[in-house]
């Protein structure tokens, strides 16, 4: 009996479904319109969400993997919020430093989900890179010094002479270029805009007389060139670079996508600088060469064509117009070499190397690959491709928080990149520096500086003078007991005392060297600067003690970011540290919010589509109900309960929703699978960051299928409420009416 009832139930449902199906089929157009909207909605839910999820995942990989970590921690006393990817402004955020990173680290490591903590400070500074004429003049000066020093063998002397002539030729070449520039300037600018002094200096340097008399006073001539000419040949510019001061060792371990490209990593415990490969290429490479690289990347990587791509055309034009940077590097020998090679390559008889270079750089899609190869094979070996070489010492000047200019010399060990983010402007914007140098540039008192000052003070017999007895100190009236603190003889420290000079030196807090104390200048100060600091090896963990601005936290389980943030702040409170924890999304500023924004747009679009779907389906069902009043009345008359009618209509709506929703979700899934296989190419550098590589491979999230299913179900259900209510009010009497 029960079984029979069950089978009867199933049969009833079958009939209800059948009526529903057949009704749908009978009104095909309506069904297709309604279904089409649902189809599109489901497709959008699945495809759009999958795309955003993948974008979210890849971008978070980029942000987390390059600098942010999962969570950033900084002082909650800070005036500004922390933005590790750099705010839109160049300036630093006003962050209150965390006094002792070692303590912070200890506290953070008590939180169970914390895997690693990387100390950080992010700032920016100006860097001057080498100037071609300065370098050439420097070499010339060295050579003359050598000659003046004498004591050379005949072949050595002959070689030196040749070198001097070659360098002189190079400098003359530069002067001629400058003269040409001046002529061009006269043609376009008001004569008053050109300094008469500068013009005169260039003309003098270009004159035969100047070079004929060069050797009479080589050092004087060089000085003239350095003071009057080099200043005009400003091909070197100030470079603004952003850097993260960090414990380089733990940084490399925590951000394992980081890899060294050129040179080496900074040896453990040493101070040093690593350029981001992107910055190194983009800012420090010879512009012509970098533009060739960019064209090649775009052609090979993205299949762009010079003929079609406006950007590539611009790069070619710039290369044609800006051969000067290459020309400045050419001395007489190289000029001749380039002329011969270019004439042969281009089949030209033009003797003007500038014109030859311009026509060489004027490439199209046919000639590009050949020219690119030629450039690197024949021309590049004679050129300095980078303004700062690996192994050079970089002088970084920064304004400290208190407004002083602080400078630090750092050895450039190499370049690095984050795997998958090679082309990303954003991931490549930050360079790396050791934490000690960062602290110095930022204006913190480091242990080294304290010691340096202490030693200088001791050596100079200097001591702190309070305001009350400043007069006595300065004018020698020994009245106060403070005098007893003057230490005429040091126990250790410098041998040179202040006593021979017969007066105290009022504490010179800047680590500069007093010219009045030559022993110091030659000894302690420079020694501390040059040898001690550059070559000093810090014990593991030693750099970690002291001030940091923020710290990146890497988690064991990245899914627990909010909980861990709470745990970190609680641990901070417990240990009396003013810790504020923010997620990587927040720490990456506008970039982190990009996904949120895109998601809101998508959800609004989906919402609109579903609201439209709801209205249209509702409308269609109301129409269908009104058309079928007689049929519904008949069903009621022959004994169908109201719930049967309700089921019939709801099933009708559901069937449309589910069938078309399923097709939409299916097509969306297939679309995601296809696009996931091919990958969405990163159109520009910024997309490399968002895609965490050259292509985004979207993946299908099962959650999205469920979301689509639920959304479709809800829309179908809601849209059938009103028509179902109408249908349930149909009385069997309406089956009898005959007004047809």
């Amino acid at each position: 009996m029960a079984q029979r009832r069950l089978s009867a139930w199933i049969d009833t449902f079958g009939v209800v479904a059948q009526i529903a199906f057949r009704n749908l089929f009978a009104s095909r157009l309506k069904t297709i319109i309604v279904g089409g909207i649902i189809f599109f909605g489901a497709l959008l839910v699945v495809a759009g969400n999958s795309l955003l999820d993948s974008l979210d995942a890849s971008m978070s990989r980029s942000v987390i993997g390059s600098v942010a970590g999962h969570i950033q921690v900084y002082s909650d006393k800070s005036k500004d919020g922390l933005e590790v990817m750099g705010s839109m402004t160049m300036g630093d955020q006003d962050l209150t430093p965390l006094d002792d990173f070692a303590k912070v680290r200890q506290t953070l490591m008590t939180v169970p989900n914390v895997k690693a903590v990387v100390p950080m400070g992010i700032s920016g500074a100006l860097v001057t890179s080498g100037n071609t004429i300065d370098l050439a003049l420097g070499k010339l000066r060295d050579a003359y010094r050598k000659r003046l020093a004498g004591g050379l063998s005949a072949p050595e002397s002959a070689m030196l002479d040749r070198q001097i002539e070659a360098e002189k030729g190079h400098v003359r070449q530069i002067v001629v270029l400058l003269q040409g520039d001046l002529k061009n300037l006269k043609a376009v600018a008001d004569a008053r805009a050109i300094s008469a002094d500068d013009a005169e200096a260039v003309n003098r340097a270009a004159s035969e007389a100047f070079w004929a008399g060069f050797d009479k006073d080589p050092l004087g001539s060089l000085e003239f060139l350095e003071n009057r000419i080099a200043t005009q040949a400003a091909d070197a510019d100030l470079l603004f670079i952003r850097y993260v001061g960090t414990d380089l060792d733990s940084f490399g371990k925590a951000f394992d996508r980081m890899q060294i490209v050129d040179g080496t990593a900074v040896p453990a415990g040493k101070r040093g600088f690593l350029f981001s490969k992107f910055v190194y290429e983009d800012q420090l490479k010879l512009k012509s060469a970098h533009r060739l690289d960019q064209i090649k990347d775009s052609r090979d990587g993205r299949g762009s064509l010079i003929a079609k791509d406006l950007d590539l055309q611009r790069l070619v034009r710039e290369n044609v117009a800006q051969v000067r940077e290459v020309m400045l590097q050419l001395d007489a020998l190289k000029t001749a070499d380039f002329r011969a090679k270019l004439q042969k390559e281009l089949g030209s008889t033009n003797a003007d190397v500038g014109a030859l270079l311009a026509s060489f750089f004027d490439t199209d899609d046919q000639s590009f690959d050949r020219r690119y190869a030629f450039f690197y094979r024949e021309l590049a070996p004679a050129l300095e491709l980078y303004r700062i070489r690996i192994g050079d010492t970089l002088t970084i000047k920064a304004f400290t928080r208190s407004g002083y200019v602080q400078s630090v010399n750092l050895h450039v060990y190499g370049t690095f990149q984050f795997q998958g983010l090679e082309k990303s402007t954003l991931a490549g914007a930050l360079n790396l520096m050791d934490l000690v140098s960062f602290r110095e540039l930022y204006g913190f008192m480091t242990a080294d500086k304290l010691r340096e000052i202490e030693q200088l003070q001791k050596a100079a017999g200097a001591h702190e003078v309070s305001r009350e007895n400043a007069e006595a100190e300065l004018f020698g009236t020994k009245q106060t007991k403070d005098d007893t603190e003057v230490k005429p003889a040091d126990k250790g420290g410098a041998k040179a005392g202040a006593q021979p000079h017969g007066k105290h030196v009022v504490a010179d807090a800047t680590p500069g060297v007093s010219p009045e104390i030559p022993e110091l200048a030659a000894g302690l100060g420079q020694r501390l600067r040059r040898e001690d600091l550059v070559d000093r090896v810090y014990a593991p963990g030693e750099t970690q003690r002291g001030v940091v601005l923020n710290a990146a936290v890497i988690l064991k389980d990245p899914k627990l970011i909010p909980q861990t943030m709470k745990a970190i702040e609680d641990a901070g409170k417990r240990d009396g540290l003013p810790l504020k924890a923010i997620s990587w999304q927040k720490a990456s500023g506008i970039i982190g919010q990009f996904i949120m924004l895109a998601r809101i747009v998508l959800y609004v679009a989906i919402l609109i589509i579903f609201v439209i779907a709801l209205v249209i389906i509702n409308n269609a069902l109301v129409m269908a109900t009104l058309e079928r009043v007689k049929e519904i009345g008949t069903l009621r008359a022959i004994g169908a309960q109201r719930r049967f009618i309700l089921a019939m209509l709801v099933i009708e709506a559901m069937v449309v929703g589910l069938i078309f929703g399923a097709i939409g979700a299916g097509v969306g899934a297939v679309l995601v699978a296809i696009v996931g296989k091919i990958g969405v190419p990163a159109k520009s550098d910024i997309w490399f960051f968002f895609f965490s590589g050259p292509r985004l491979h979207p993946f299908l999230g099962t959650t999205n299928l469920i979301v689509a299913f639920v959304a479709v179900l809800l829309v179908s259900a809601f849209s059938s409420f009103y028509p179902a209510w109408l249908a349930m009010r149909v009385t069997p009497r309406q089956a009898m009416s005959e007004e047809e």
């Binding site: 029979r4 009832r5 089978s7 009867a8 139930w9 049969d11 009833t12 009939v15 059948q18 009526i19 057949r22 009704n23 089929f25 009978a26 007689k630 049929e631 009345g633 008949t634 069903l635 009621r636 008359a637 022959i638 004994g639 169908a640 309960q641 109201r642 049967f644 009385t731 069997p732 009497r733 089956a735 009898m736 005959e738 047809e740």
Partner: protein
């Protein structure tokens, strides 16, 4: 045989806006099982209203209507629906078949609503009835593919399939030509005789009335008289040439 329908002083008023329109003004009537009763009268005489009351599609404003021993005014909406499902079969003037279902499915509907028989039993019952009404070969057709007479046969089969005690037919031949109409009436009569099912049908057609066992005449919502066809001066149409 006991009365299957018992109507006492039934009054039915409809409200059209603020106006109360009386449709039935106090009618009493008894129908015994096995009758082949015709309700006759001009348009607006209350035929359909009376059928609606008997068919449990409506309840009286005052008075009582008892169907199969149940006072319809005492029944809930659900119980009335149930009563219709199990006791009454309906034949409509314009057939009222579900257009998207086949002939077989249309006839099967009441059985499905009853949920008492398994698939095989249902099919057997439907096929037997299809045979009886003479449209077996149209079982899988849609109503739109059938003629008016064929459709009414389907409707008759549907009304009878659940074996109701009572079949109500509201002007069953009004939309048919006279020959087809007569065929339909003959079929109903035959089923009345062989199955013992009580038929009540309304009509204003004299020829149709002639088929009835007795005729209840209405005028202006009032009972006029109950007569035999002979008394009414109408004769059953005996196969006109």
């Amino acid at each position: 045989m006991a009365a299957i329908v018992s109507v006492k002083d039934a009054v039915k008023n409809y409200t059209l806006g603020k106006v109360v329109v009386p449709a039935l003004r106090g009618i009493s009537l008894e129908v015994r099982g096995g009758e082949f009763l015709s309700i006759a009268g001009p348009s607006g005489s209350g035929k359909t209203t009376l059928l609606n009351l008997i068919g449990c599609v409506d309840t009286p404003t005052s008075g009582t209507v008892e169907v199969a021993g149940k006072d319809t005014r005492q029944l809930s909406e659900r119980a009335l629906t149930d009563l219709r499902l199990h006791t009454i079969g309906f034949i409509f003037q314009s057939f009222n078949l579900v257009s998207v279902l086949s002939v077989l499915q249309n006839i099967e509907l009441p059985l499905l609503l009853q949920r008492e028989l398994g698939t095989a039993d249902r099919r057997k019952r439907v096929m037997t009835l299809l045979e009886r009404v003479g449209i077996r070969e149209y079982a899988s057709h849609r109503p739109s593919e059938l003629s008016g007479g064929q459709r009414q046969r389907v409707a008759i089969a549907r009304a009878l399939v659940a074996r109701p005690q009572l079949v109500l037919a509201d002007e069953p031949t009004a939309n048919l030509d006279s020959v087809t109409g007569q065929n339909i009436l003959d079929l109903m009569k035959e089923l009345n005789r062989t199955e013992g099912t009580t038929f009540i049908f309304s009509t204003h057609d004299q020829k149709v009335m002639a088929n009835a066992s007795s005729i209840v005449r209405l005028a202006d919502g009032k009972f006029v008289d109950r007569i035999s066809p002979r008394d009414a001066g109408v004769h059953p149409a005996s196969a006109p040439a």
